[in-house]
Amino acid sequence: MLAEYSSLITLVALTAILAYSFYAVLIAGQLSLAQVGLASLAAFTSALVVPSEPLFGFIPPLVIGIVFGMFVGAIAAFILGLPVIRLRGVFLAIATLAFGEMVRIFLINQSWTNGAQGLSFAKLVGPGVAWIALVVVAYWFWRLSGSRLGRAFAAIREDELAATTMGIDVPRYRMASFVIAGAVAGLYGVLLAHFSRFADPNEFSFTAAVDGLVTAVVGGVTLFVGPILGSAFLSVLPEVQRVIGIDAGWIRPTISGVLLLVVILFLPGGLSGLIPRRKSAKTLLDNPSLQPTLSPLPAAGSELVNLSSLGKSYGGVHAVQSVDLTVNAGEVLGLIGPNGAGKTTLVNMVTGLTPPTTGTGKVLGVPLSPSTKAHRLAQAGVARTFQQIKLFNRLSALENVLVGGYRITQDTLLRRLLFLPSARRLEREAVAMASAQLIRVGLGDKAANAAGDLSYGDQRRLEIARALASHPSLLVLDEPAAGMNHVEAASLSDLIRSLAADGIAVLVIEHNVRMMLATCDRIMVLNFGEVIAAGKPSDIARDPRVLEAYLGSAGSDDDVEAATVLASENLAHVLDDPTSEQQEHPTGTGTATDTTPDGTTTPEENR
């Protein structure tokens, strides 16, 4: 009975290993079809080194082949990755597919591979060896999934830009997933060749690559057992059909095709999506004593940001023109101005997402230049939120914040592989830190919800919690109150003040002028990319240029003057007693002063 199925059992394991090779890139959001090409390179080169007798009398030949094959797979993946890693999506898939086909054609035309006739290998792999190898690989991916490296991969898969601003070096991690996948592919190639005792390069074709991809996707990438489930399903299916007596040549592929279609259409997470996910990264750990010891923030008042005539132009459009700006630890600096004034461009330059075209700048000791990488600034202690929310939508709220803690945590993969107690301690520290941030922004009860399912205001708060989890020295908030009602905005204002009191420098863009006047220590006003005013909130509220920029100069002079006087009185009143104002007039924050009047043009959008 067992002997009858021994080859099927082995193939299930080997196919699962191939699927893990696809899984390794899919979890980082990449689609590579080079895997079988890498596998064939490893298989055929291993034929050159695998000895017929144990090395030094005790190292089995297969071990040498495996080590060598994984090494070849990893190196080849690295070399392939150098040029193709910057490609995305379908383009990456096609480039890697081309690579795989080129490897196949190259190997067919070599004499040492025996060309299309194929090469014989020693029979060294049976069910036992194959399943041991599979268990090792699956164990590795199991321990990867909860580690910092695993979280970084998930973050890259969900949103590369947001991952970068968490301090994650995206190209490096994408390359890492590529190399891991290459090593697993190499393992598969060597095992397969030494199982089937014969290999010719044409077996490692496009069709084989597609089969591997299908196995990985059918199994699903949300859980580490996905590839095993996919392999079992797709390998056993034809066998079951044979046993129940379906024999016509065309019925089996038809049934397989229909089932594949059903799985992909109706099981979005693949087969592993049917398994309920583990709970660990969903529950809060509300215990301040567990939090990691953090390095102290810069002393209050020390200069963190210094921009000197910084500017950015796109062709002839000057989005930002020669801005001078300093931000000190412990202060809240507001940035206001009509839509299209260049506010977001300015903070994109400060956070390293947009390189400046003129001027110089230094943020937390990192100079701003075209070669400055955003993740370097994030590692130096800059954290930010986005005007258009960029959360990792399919991860839970708590997992989002855990990714935010990337900067202040250590990688736990090796410790997790060895089940060291320190792995558990570090994980509890990270969860405690993340929990504290969630509770601080008022999302303690929504830790387990997927970020994409939260309400708009909650998503804004979650972004702030994620940014805070990196223990930043400089926090940049791009329109944090958008979509919040006045009560939420008031508590956001309190939160921002308390962060500044902790010693964090906060740079905030917001259209809610009322809230800004009450929250900021200093305000800078941008219009048409230029600073038109800067200073204390009370001065800004009375500055005629600011009022004109906000209210426009169209219409009769009398109207403008009347409106200006009214507005400045209103704002001055807010300054006198912000809290009572907000409570007395519940609708107050949503009216006249907080949005750009329709009369003013929005310069950049119109150009």
């Binding site: 383009f91 080129m102 054609i105 038809t254 397989s256 594949l260 979005p268």
Partner: protein, 291 residues
């Protein structure tokens, strides 16, 4: 000269197949991997029709166009539309179209068996003519005329007609297109129908050229079509035409000067180089990253 003409004939078929491929990608941002199965279906159904009814070539092409269009609509309805709005629609669409392609192929196997099939010996005229010292068959000239005129009609349709304007609007932003009152579902169906109609005709023409069709012919052409649309630029119709001709010529020259065993290396080497040096292809527009 003979090489040049052979390259053009081969290239025009690649281009016809690739143009359907790239049409769906350019407008709906989906890679339809069932396209190869449509190609095979076009070839085998074409042979069946000629063998059974002895229809002439001018009648065969419209019939195959209709068959392809019907398959295209089925692909859209069954393999792609249910995925609309899924975050992983890209991956899932690849896999579901692979599955649908596999189903098409297994049904073809049920109908026609797994053996290589040919057109009846005297089904088409075998006149040969000499042009610039090179021998070409009348059939090859017909193939060239059909594929080029279909491509011209399609390009005109997308560039000028109301339908084409709708397609291009959807390519820009499907959500906004729906808000503006365009029937996105219907236009998607039509796009798939056009794409598959051309794919099926490409299958017939390819088979006419080599006079042999088996279940596997789609795969080889599919890989080359991927090369063609990358070289020409993803989503670019003129790019697919030029890319197809370049590939056809390059292959014929490679076989002649390097050796047939390295022929396929040319396509993938070209593809790889273009992706590294100019990922948007010869005619594609560079897509900028949103911040």
């Amino acid at each position: 000269m003979q090489l040049f003409l052979d390259g053009i004939f081969l290239g025009s078929i690649y281009a016809l197949f690739a143009i359907g491929f790239t049409l769906v990608f350019g407008i709906l941002d989906r890679l339809n991997l069932a396209h190869a199965a449509v190609f095979t279906a076009g070839a085998l159904v074409g042979i069946e029709i000629v063998t059974r009814f002895g229809v002439p070539i001018w009648l065969l092409i419209p019939i195959v166009l209709v068959v392809g269009a019907v398959i295209g609509i089925l692909i859209e309805r069954i393999a792609f539309r249910p995925l609309a709005g899924r975050h992983d629609a890209h991956f899932a669409g690849l896999i579901s179209s692979i599955a649908f392609g596999a189903i098409i192929l297994s049904l073809l196997q049920a109908l026609y068996g797994a053996d290589t099939r040919r057109f009846p010996a005297d089904a088409f005229p075998s006149t040969r003519v000499e042009i610039f010292g090179a021998t070409v068959s009348l059939l090859q000239v017909i193939i060239l005329i059909i594929s080029v005129s279909l491509m011209v009609v399609l390009t005109w349709l997308v560039a000028k007609s109301k339908l084409g304007r709708g397609m291009r609007t959807i390519a820009e932003n499907p959500h906004a297109a729906a808000v503006l009152g365009l029937n996105v579902g219907r236009i998607s169906s039509i796009t798939f129908a056009l794409s598959s109609a051309l794919g099926a005709v490409a299958g017939v023409l390819f088979t006419l050229n080599v006079n042999a069709a088996s279940l596997g012919i789609g795969h080889a052409v599919e890989l080359k079509a991927l090369a063609v649309i990358i070289v020409g630029g993803m989503g670019s119709l003129p790019g697919a035409l030029v890319g197809g001709l370049i590939l056809g010529l390059a292959e014929v020259l490679a076989v002649n000067y390097i050796g047939s065993s390295w022929r396929d290396m040319v396509a993938f080497g070209l593809l790889f180089l273009i992706l590294i040096l100019r990922p948007q292809g010869l005619f594609g527009a560079r897509k900028t990253r949103e911040v």
